[in-house]
């Protein structure tokens, strides 16, 4: 393993149309459990998606373990927002988790037994093994979220980017997810999660990035998660430049 940080974002600027969402964000994600917090519209999900190349960036770059994403894709796992898919889709929980292993299989034919077992193990990890054959639409919201978590786990990555893993889940599911995240970091993996609930940041995470269009503060929770930085991230005093538009020609 190299000593390069799991994720290093350099001067990332992203705009939707003319409207900048992320302004020249530079941030190095440390190892361990990291939360990205900030108000609505702060660009938290955008940061993750742009780092993964799912939306284009105006400028800047992201490196994973010191390399471009294409070279280390198998070391980076992703958990998208639960609401981003149609849960009525004809698939069982096991089918969905198996998707994580698709890059390791041929594009056709049966799913190899070893891959199926790996997917089952990931389901067991989130406590859903007896639901493996259930259609995903028949799972509760919390179970669906855990299926997505299992799918990310099945990628067997060194870094997991998670978009709102705790969104709209009940307390029991939340605790189950936290336990999984802790086990991951104990095994030397890193997690970067978009998080909504400020009150649980110190309990669940060791590092934090406060984001509001810009990187307002970053570091360990003790250093960076202070009343001042929170006020800076959530307060209105950053807004003088709001409404500024990026000149269209700036697109690199």
């Amino acid at each position: 393993m190299t000593t390069a940080p799991p994720l290093e974002i350099r001067s990332l600027t992203v705009a939707y149309g003319d409207h900048p969402v992320l302004w020249d964000v530079t941030w190095v994600a440390p190892e361990g459990l990291t939360a990205i917090v900030g108000p609505n519209g702060a660009g938290k999900s955008t940061l993750i998606k742009a780092a993964l190349g799912l939306i284009p960036a105006l400028s800047g770059s992201a490196a994973f373990f010191g390399r471009p994403l294409d070279e280390v894709r198998n070391r980076v796992g992703y958990l998208p927002q639960r609401a981003s898919v149609d849960w009525d889709f004809p698939a069982t929980a096991l089918d969905v988790v198996c998707m994580a292993r698709y890059p390791r299989m041929a594009w056709w034919g049966r799913v190899p037994r070893a891959e199926r077992e790996a997917a089952r193990a990931a389901l067991a990890e989130v406590g859903l093994e007896e639901f493996a054959e259930r259609q995903i639409g028949r799972l509760s919201g919390g179970q669906q979220q855990r299926v997505f978590l299992a799918r990310a786990l099945a990628q067997d990555s060194d870094l997991y980017l998670m978009d709102e893993p705790f969104a709209a889940v009940d307390a029991a599911t939340e605790q189950a997810i936290v336990a999984v995240l802790r086990r991951l970091t104990e095994a030397g993996r890193s997690v970067v999660a978009v998080h909504h609930d400020l009150s649980t940041v110190p309990d669940y995470f060791s590092n934090v990035l406060l984001l509001n269009g810009r990187a307002v503060a970053a570091g360990t929770v003790q250093q960076a998660f202070t009343p001042e930085t929170i006020a800076a991230a959530y307060g209105g005093r950053l807004n003088l430049l709001e409404g500024a538009s990026v000149a269209a020609g700036a697109r690199a």
Partner: protein
């Protein structure tokens, strides 16, 4: 009916209906699962100017130029739909409607202007399909099925249909898993490093190719029925992906055969003089199957909601 008559008139049309509807039924599930059924509607209309142009340029009703023209038209239409949606900021349904009606109208006028209509490719074919013209006059009897000389004269629509069907089946088989992921969660597919955009393009091109090949058999508008109805019926009945996709193909093929048989041969065998447009019968059956599936479904759905869902 004698064997030679069956071979000359009914068998080619039956096979054409089966191939056309089976291919569309196979692809329809992907469109439906991607919540993109309207694209099937749009592409089946939008290929018309491409078909006419391919036909007018080469002067022959042969498969490949028409196929090439249709694929080009389909590509142009998908690109235009995106452009219109973004620039005019209207919902994708309206953008789709604006683009495909324009393409279709352009095709109709092109047909009028190029004289294609008077020669060989006429409006009736576009609107109603021409399964009746798929005939194999060289067939003498069952032995013709093994006679290379007679087989060489199989109608050219069958060649195109068989070629497209084989290609689509092969591509779907080879791209089985990427297509699955693309339908469920395209962002995740991209995050895993799958070429999501190119897969989408491949799917659209397959739909366009199927629409062209099926166009001569069932007509432009009834291609839509075969792209949506079998897939929708299964969507109402099954939660199994494999059943959905393969069942869609099988149901499509079955509907093609059943519709053709109901339109002419069966009534004739029963001594009736009734003879219907085969494509119309196939499409009507498609609608009936969806309605039946929707009526059968509530029991299954109700049972399903009662299952306990504990977090």
């Amino acid at each position: 009916m004698s064997a030679p008559d069956f071979l000359r008139l009914d068998l080619p049309a039956l096979v054409a209906a089966m191939l056309a509807c089976g291919t569309c039924g196979l692809l329809g599930s992907f469109l439906l699962l991607r919540r993109d059924s309207l694209l099937g509607d749009a592409l089946s209309h939008a290929v018309l100017p491409g078909i006419i142009a391919g036909f007018a340029l080469t002067g022959a009703r042969s498969g490949l130029p028409m196929l090439a023209g249709a694929l080009a038209a389909a590509l142009a239409a998908t690109v235009l739909i995106t452009v219109v949606r973004r620039a005019a900021r209207i919902e994708s349904g309206a953008a789709t409607g604006a683009v495909f009606t324009t393409f279709f109208a352009g095709g109709l006028v092109l047909m009028e202007v190029s004289g294609a209509r008077s020669v060989d490719l006429d409006l009736d074919c576009v609107l109603f399909g021409q399964l009746e013209t798929v005939v194999w006059l060289e067939a003498q009897g069952w032995s013709s099925l093994l006679d290379p000389a007679a087989l060489a004269h199989l109608p050219r629509q069958l060649h195109l249909l068989a070629g497209v069907a084989a290609a689509v089946v092969l591509i779907v088989a080879l791209l089985w898993r990427p297509l699955h992921l693309l339908c469920f969660d395209p962002d995740y597919a991209a995050a895993l490093g799958l070429p999501a955009r190119r897969l989408e393009m491949a799917l659209n091109l397959m739909v366009a190719a199927a629409a062209v090949a099926a166009f001569e058999a069932v007509g432009s508008i009834l291609v839509v029925a075969m792209l949506v109805c079998p897939a929708a019926a299964l969507r109402l009945l099954t939660d199994d992906y494999r059943v959905q996709v393969l069942g869609g193909a099988a149901l499509g093929a079955g509907l093609g055969v059943a519709g053709y048989a109901l339109a002419g041969p069966l009534p004739a065998a029963a001594g009736l003089t009734l003879s219907l447009n085969a494509a119309g019968a196939i499409g009507t059956l498609g609608g009936i199957v969806v309605a039946a599936a929707a009526l059968l479904r509530p029991r299954a759905a109700a049972g399903r909601r009662e299952e306990p869902a504990i977090a």
